[in-house]
Symmetry: C2
Subunit: 214 residues, 2 copies
DNA sequence: GCGAGTATAATTGTATGCATATATCCATGA
DNA sequence: TCATGGATATATGCATACAATTATACTCGC
């Protein structure tokens, strides 16, 4: 019952993370290992593992009794964008310096796929390719440090944005900005890549600020 | 068996993290839960928890048999400093904008303590106060996001530096730079605080680069 | 009626056992 | 000799049992 499948702990983490960021477990509610274990029908062991990861990401906080749900505030979201502006700028620069031809081709392919989904107006898939594009940048930047630092931040803003979009009904489109970044990286121009990426994340921040009326 | 003290899992994580970053477990070596469990004299449960955290921080990587030690390369360390330059700059700025009088007093006290240890040439304590100073900045910046992002990065450079210092015999002293940062924060001057912090982390990067002969 | 002290319940920390998957090694046959 | 197949060893994933701590409720004495 082990390898091919994703571990229960991973599945449970994904589920709990989603449920917290989308409000299924409201901020302030208390979760205990035992109650989660009963709710999800598994033993405490994989639950513990998932909850520890939630703790590390500050989505929950230990309290005298179980853990209490924290999620993130709009203010936190804005700060995450400020950090992302700087660090993704560095990552894009590193990417322009280090990317291989194969990786570049992969990136181009993803952008074409995104274009396809934009024409079909499949917003779920658009958002997916969007995230994948950023994760590619993190991965192609030449050090796992970029991914480790940026992936959790990106993840949080994505889910926060998702909740805001659901409330407002608006959607966003940043395909052109992605293409600018790609072009700079393809040209192996670090300055241009950094600039394009910083501009892109800044725009994303502004869009969310409007959306969430911060 | 659940004393007031820190949990076994936490202790083991700290120890393994240190041992990896200082080379006790060389890069490429393989660790299994069972062998660690026997070496450290505890059951697999807390070991598992610690190893999962190491995986999340990319200090080890799962393999067919146990996990293999990754640690960080000098190149990674330099990248971490580049990220810290930017993000700690933001944190220092936020700190100057948000810090309370009590927090400011606490910070001043810490710097006086550090001065005391410097006169006594107690390098272990100096390093401790050093780390505490940075962590205070993260905590007083007004959002847990700063701490979550910066603490792991700071931790890694500290331990990496420790290994380098052990090899070279040199030590470093950055008290004056800390004091500059404090003065800017005390004056509630965000621009000056950001600048002082950036300069400080840049200097730390240069010192490590010399030390590690990168 | 109320406070103190104690019993009880609830919760997490740790150990252990079992199931399962994978690697390794050895034997056997062409 | 080499490939193949199976037995064995080793590893992790999950469940469960137990220990210990902390919160809560309750009782008893005043």
């Amino acid at each position: 019952m082990m390898h091919k499948t994703i571990s229960l702990a991973d599945q449970i983490f994904e589920r709990l993370e989603s449920d917290i960021l989308t409000g299924v477990y409201p901020i302030g509610s208390v979760l205990t290992e035992l109650s989660l274990s009963e709710d999800l029908g598994v033993s405490r062991t994989p639950i513990r593992e998932a909850v520890r990861r939630l703790e590390q990401e500050h989505l929950v906080e230990p309290s005298s009794k179980g853990v209490v749900v924290l999620s993130i505030t709009p203010h936190d979201a804005m700060i995450i964008y400020d950090i992302r502006i700087q660090v993704e700028g560095l990552a894009a620069r590193a990417c322009a310096e280090n990317i291989t031809d194969e990786q570049l081709a992969e990136m181009k392919e993803l952008l074409e796929l995104q274009e396809f989904y934009i024409k079909k107006a499949d917003s779920e898939k658009i958002k997916n390719t969007d995230s994948q594009f950023h994760q590619m940048i993190y991965q192609f930047a030449g050090s796992p440090v970029y991914y480790d630092t940026l992936a959790p931040l990106h993840n949080k803003t994505q889910k926060f944005r998702k909740a805001s979009v659901a409330r407002s009904g608006k959607a966003v489109n940043s395909h052109e900005e992605h293409h600018d970044i790609y072009k700079a990286i393809a040209a192996r121009d670090p300055d241009a890549a950094e600039l394009a990426m910083k501009r892109h994340v800044e725009e994303a921040k502004k869009r969310l600020a409007e959306l969430a009326e911060i």
